[in-house]
Symmetry: C2
Subunit: 151 residues, 2 copies
């Protein structure tokens, strides 16, 4: 099989997703990139953190804002292995993320191209550029394997 | 003028909103109630915290989950002075909040009865009972005064 190359930040997000799954959390990972450098990362960990808001995107965004000392991540990009939910899509808008790259679609919980389509609402105060499908196969495989092992 | 009485948790949320405004943050407050007792509170503080996710509801939900040692706030109610945004509505669903009481409507940023209507989507995994308008006048006055002073 050919080796498909992925942008390095999505590779890092997939590695974080795998780490989440190994820790018993739903395998989703995210990184924040500024000027081509990963400045913050996160994986899904609501159980470990006992925090219902601890999705990969929220963890990474909070870490990036703390690192930059600014609630606005102007010019930063977010890479996440799964289509963000409503909570995370809202956080992405609040953080003023410039570009959102996500892997697998999430017809059930996703809120970018599914359900409430948070970032496409006329009332949204900031809309990042959105790129989907990058690393989608690998991201979906991680989730499928995780849930199959728990059935 | 007659004195209109408010449920005590909404009175507490309004006091938190006022404290936020006094600190230069958009005046929104929230409390989490379990078995009739306030177990956690929060006010809007993204600037102070340098955290774009630090809305009143998120701060209160995270504090409640930390206090209970559980990512799910089963049987807990959330009182917030303003209609939650998409991020906060998503967090309310993730936290399994039983009843949501909010004050003023937010046609611009609200995501309960406006915009993406996150909690009304067929894909939503948990839908709290929702009560609106409680303390709405006072909540809206705080916001109006805050923004008027900044124009």
């Amino acid at each position: 099989m050919p080796q498909f190359l992925l942008p390095e930040p999505m590779r890092a997000a997939l590695n974080l997703a795998k780490a989440a799954g190994d820790a018993g959390e739903v395998p989703v990972g995210a990184v924040v990139v500024k000027d081509g450098v990963i400045i913050a990362e996160g994986h899904n960990r609501p159980r470990e953190s006992r925090d219902p808001t601890a999705h990969a995107e929220i963890v990474a965004i909070r870490a990036a804002a703390a690192k930059l000392g600014n609630e606005r991540l102007d010019g930063c990009d977010l890479y996440v292995t799964l289509e963000p939910c409503a909570m995370c899509a809202g956080a992405i808008a609040h953080a003023r993320i410039a570009r959102l790259y996500y892997g697998a679609d999430d017809p059930k919980g996703g809120a970018v191209v599914h359900g409430p389509r948070v970032l496409s609402q006329p009332t949204i105060h900031h809309r990042p550029d959105i790129y989907d499908g990058i690393g989608a196969g690998e991201a979906a495989d991680l989730l499928r394997t995780f849930f199959a092992a728990r059935r």
